[in-house]
């Protein structure tokens, strides 16, 4: 291969893009051709020259680019710090609002103290227009009735104790089984 034919392959070799066959042909040629060795060095040098063409990036470049992007509406505007603060403040506010909403919409609602009425009447105070639990027993669900019974117990501790001593009571557990009663003192300490 003569010099004119090998020159493009030299350029490709300089860029590290030659195939193994091309690289071998170039090496073989350069081994005996001084002129092409000089040309190979010149090609490398002129390749390095392009990296010398550079300039500093102006400090204002970034600001100008982002200002244009924002003015064209293609870039979301940066969130301000104050909005972040409000976002954090919104967490307890939302929690408080949620609690208030729960209390307002809860079935029992906010109890008003009705000291002079029987305990069973308290349940109806959350809905003044609702029929009285006693006046219209058919409106109560089974769950309501159980709750009323519990309130009766709480209002009358004597009824709570009426069943006998505590040691004889079964503890309520799921499935109806009960753990053995705990010995009064040190019952399990012997093991």
């Amino acid at each position: 291969m003569d010099c004119r034919d090998i020159r493009e392959a030299i350029s490709v070799c300089v860029d590290g893009e030659a195939s193994p066959g091309e690289a071998a042909a170039v090496r073989e040629h350069l081994a005996f051709c001084e002129r092409c060795r000089v040309l190979e060095r010149q090609m490398r040098a002129v390749g390095a020259g392009v990296r010398q063409v550079r300039g500093p990036v102006p400090d204002r470049f970034r600001e100008e680019v982002f200002a244009r992007l924002e003015s064209e509406g293609v870039l979301p505007k940066r969130k301000k710090v104050v909005s972040t603060a409000w976002r954090w403040a919104a967490v307890p506010l939302a929690a408080a609002a949620g609690l208030g909403l729960f209390l307002l919409t809860s079935r029992e609602g906010i109890r008003e103290p009705v000291l002079s009425e029987p305990a069973t009447a308290r349940v109806g105070t959350s809905a003044p227009d609702a029929p009285s639990p006693q006046g219209n027993g058919s409106a109560l669900s089974t769950e309501d009735r159980e709750m009323l019974a519990m309130l009766d117990l709480l209002e009358d501790p004597a009824a709570f104790d009426a069943g006998g001593d505590a040691e004889g009571m079964d503890l309520l557990v799921p499935g109806g089984s009960a753990d053995p009663p705990i010995p009064p003192q040190g019952g399990r300490s012997g093991g």
């Binding site: 490398r44 390749g47 990036v57 293609v74």
Partner: protein
């Protein structure tokens, strides 16, 4: 760390921070490319701004079918090409000077190279750099783009071919011709 492609997709979903990260990674390379293609600092800055505007505008239709940088340089090259067309570029401008080429294709030019075994490790004087910049600006745009993308920005021949929309063989030829033209121009300048 997220890839460029992931950042671009996140930006498409509205993440400003993702675009800021892309800008941070690539704005210097974009400005340098524009500077080498236009040969003028103020023109390069203007073109580089336009490149980032186009990248941002194109985000809604972006699909990571190629490397982000390949796509970015495609946008960059088209933008600078439009800029050059709008100003003064008129295609093939620089003939090879027959008198500049020595026997058997060796050019009578002394490029800096104190260490001949590693001619890329050289110190370019300001005067030679300025001559080189002028000669680079006189290359046909397609040759200049191929040479700059490969030697300046480190793109492979395959990537350069994708950016320019030509074959790899065409890239080889353009880069080789660009080298010949540059050596010819520098030889003429330095010998005359």
């Amino acid at each position: 760390m997220r890839t460029d492609e992931e950042l671009m997709l996140l930006f498409r979903e509205g993440s400003r921070e993702s675009f800021e990260e892309l800008f941070t990674r690539h704005h210097r390379a974009v400005v340098r490319f524009a500077w080498r293609m236009t040969g003028d600092p103020s023109a390069a800055e203007e073109a580089a701004q336009e490149i980032f505007l186009r990248i941002a505008r194109a985000a809604p239709t972006y699909h990571p079918t190629a490397k982000f940088t390949t796509w970015m340089y495609t946008v960059a090259r088209r933008t600078t090409l439009n800029y050059l067309r709008d100003t003064k570029e008129d295609g093939e401008k620089v003939p090879i000077h027959p008198e500049g080429e020595g026997e058997d294709g060796v050019y009578p030019v002394q490029l800096p190279g104190p260490d001949d075994r590693n001619p890329e490790q050289v110190v370019w004087e300001a005067q030679l750099t300025e001559r080189f910049r002028t000669a680079l600006g006189e290359l046909p745009e397609g040759h200049r783009a191929a040479f700059v993308l490969n030697r300046g920005d480190g793109l492979s021949y395959e990537e350069v071919a994708q950016v320019l929309g030509v074959t790899v063989q065409a890239v080889k030829t353009r880069i080789f011709r660009a080298r010949e033209m540059l050596l010819s121009r520098l030889s003429k300048d330095l010998s005359g």
